[in-house]
């Protein structure tokens, strides 16, 4: 009987739960789903991480390659993120070129990397003006059950933490780069940005870590990215129901708490 009501009136069905301050999967309004992370699973990549946020599964693989540094910044390397939402993860994505959602998430990840200064691009330079590392970060969603932004940010962070770059020496005579795969060093991760997403319901209620169903019923979303010093790396509210400044501050407070939870998880790996 409940299943019938859910199909016919999904919003009313959901409101019944919200009135009791809980959600259909039994979580509180401010509770996250179980987060698990598994690193180093892709042996052919220089760094990788698999993150599961409830059912949402995202894998990030990082490959390091050589490139000439940009002309206007000869001592910097590149970090190129790309988020792929293939038809595998959800029926809403069709095969073909990246859709709007995938491009928007890719842009968000690129902005997080830029804003939080997670690694200094200067650290990726090998020889000023001649050779630098370019890190291709490919994030692929395997199972889309909402809150893709948080999962992708965490996967990227865990994968970057896992990257081991081989030592590079320039041969004096030939001028070619020689890679020593036996000597590897990890990346210097300067900041640990963590994203916390909220869905706005009926213009007033904020629920944390929405599932795909909740996102479809929501009237807006907010994502706050904080680093370990409590600085805001991104306040991403792409339209949707309007919020007051006080509600935004509630989101920021919850995001700072979430950062501590994720940092604890990161420290264990």
């Amino acid at each position: 009987m409940a299943a019938g009501f859910k199909t016919v009136e999904p919003l009313e069905y959901y409101r019944r739960f919200l009135k009791e301050n809980c959600r259909p999967d039994g979580r509180e309004l401010g509770e996250f789903r179980a987060t698990t992370v598994n690193i180093g699973s892709i042996t052919t990549a220089d760094g990788s991480a698999l993150v599961k946020l409830g059912n949402t599964t995202v894998i990030c693989g990082i490959k390091a390659e050589f490139a000439a540094p940009p002309v206007d910044a000869t001592n910097k390397g590149y970090i190129v993120p790309d988020v792929d939402l293939p038809p595998l993860c959800s029926a809403r994505f069709r095969p073909g070129p990246p859709g709007e959602e995938a491009q928007a998430v890719s842009q968000f990840i690129a902005d997080v990397i830029e804003n939080s200064q997670i690694i200094m691009k200067e650290d990726l330079c090998i020889v000023n003006g001649k050779l630098a590392w370019v890190l291709y970060c490919d994030i692929i969603c395997l199972d889309y059950d909402g809150n893709i932004l948080d999962a992708c940010t965490f996967a990227l962070l865990a994968a970057l933490n896992n990257v081991q770059l081989p030592a590079v020496a320039i041969n004096e005579e030939t001028g070619l780069a020689e890679v020593n795969l036996k000597q590897k060093t990890p990346l210097n991760i300067r900041k640990y940005p963590v994203a916390t997403s909220f869905a706005i319901f009926d213009d007033t209620l904020l629920i944390v870590d929405p599932t795909a169903e909740e996102e479809d019923l929501a009237t807006g979303t907010v994502t706050i990215v904080t680093d370990e010093e409590g600085r805001l790396c991104s306040v991403h509210k792409p339209g949707g129901s309007p919020l007051t400044g006080a509600k935004l501050q509630d989101c920021i407070t919850r995001a700072i708490t979430r950062h501590k939870e994720v940092k604890q998880l990161m420290d264990k790996i």
Partner: protein
């Protein structure tokens, strides 16, 4: 018609021309300082069955940069403008139809996203589409020394430690859209938010004046 910035408000002078294009149902060219965006609205119109919704109008936003083809950044901005317009537009009054908003960047001298949002709102108004509220965009730049500049120029944006773009709706001045570049503290965010909210008074008054001007002449 144009307006001069009020002292203490620090917005660049802005101007709008509505109804300048003959083919779209509504159009507006919004100029903020040297940044200029042209917006055209087609709607409510025929919708493709894949996009059809029985509950509301399907809104599409296309953002064309001044040079080159639209890339990932444009797609991300299109999504933001679309979701901001969807919150303001009473799409429920036009089910199974589509509204297309096309934004063309004419010149970019800083605060581009807010200029796009302002042009979008005025174009929707010009098209006569039912709106829940008006909305406007304001950009703040946080200089490395902590000073806040509203409606920054391209140079101010480049030198800033953080650039925050907000959109507010007109009924209760609540936050409709927020996007930030660079990092800032929560206190600085609230400071910029308060300053931007106060600046929206000028912009909404300008909307009213331009609407009054438009209808009084004819």
């Amino acid at each position: 018609m144009g307006s001069e910035p009020e002292p203490g408000c620090a917005l660049r002078p802005f101007a709008v021309e509505q109804g300048l294009l003959s083919r779209p149902d509504g159009s507006a060219a919004f100029v903020q300082g040297d940044t200029s965006v042209l917006a055209g609205v087609y709607g409510p119109a025929e919708v493709r069955s894949s996009r059809e919704s029985p509950e509301r109008a399907a809104l599409d936003v296309l953002l064309r940069p001044k040079v080159g083809l639209p890339g990932v950044l444009e797609r991300s901005r299109e999504q933001m403008v679309r979701r901001a317009c969807e919150a303001a537009l009473l799409g429920e009054l036009h089910p199974r139809s589509s509204v297309t908003l096309v934004l063309q960047v004419v010149s970019d001298a800083g605060s581009l996203l807010s200029c796009c949002l302002n042009a979008a709102c005025l174009a929707l108004l010009d098209a006569g589409l039912p709106l829940r509220s008006l909305f406007c965009g304001v950009t703040c730049a946080l200089a490395p020394d902590g000073a806040v500049a509203l409606d920054p120029s391209a140079r101010q944006e480049k030198e800033a430690r953080a650039v925050l773009t907000f959109a507010f709706e007109s009924t209760e001045k609540r936050l409709l859209l927020s996007t930030t570049r660079g990092a800032c503290s929560a206190k600085e965010l609230h400071q910029c938010l308060a300053l931007a909210q106060r600046a929206t008074d000028t912009i909404f008054q300008f909307y009213r004046d331009s609407a009054r001007r438009k209808f009084s002449k004819s």
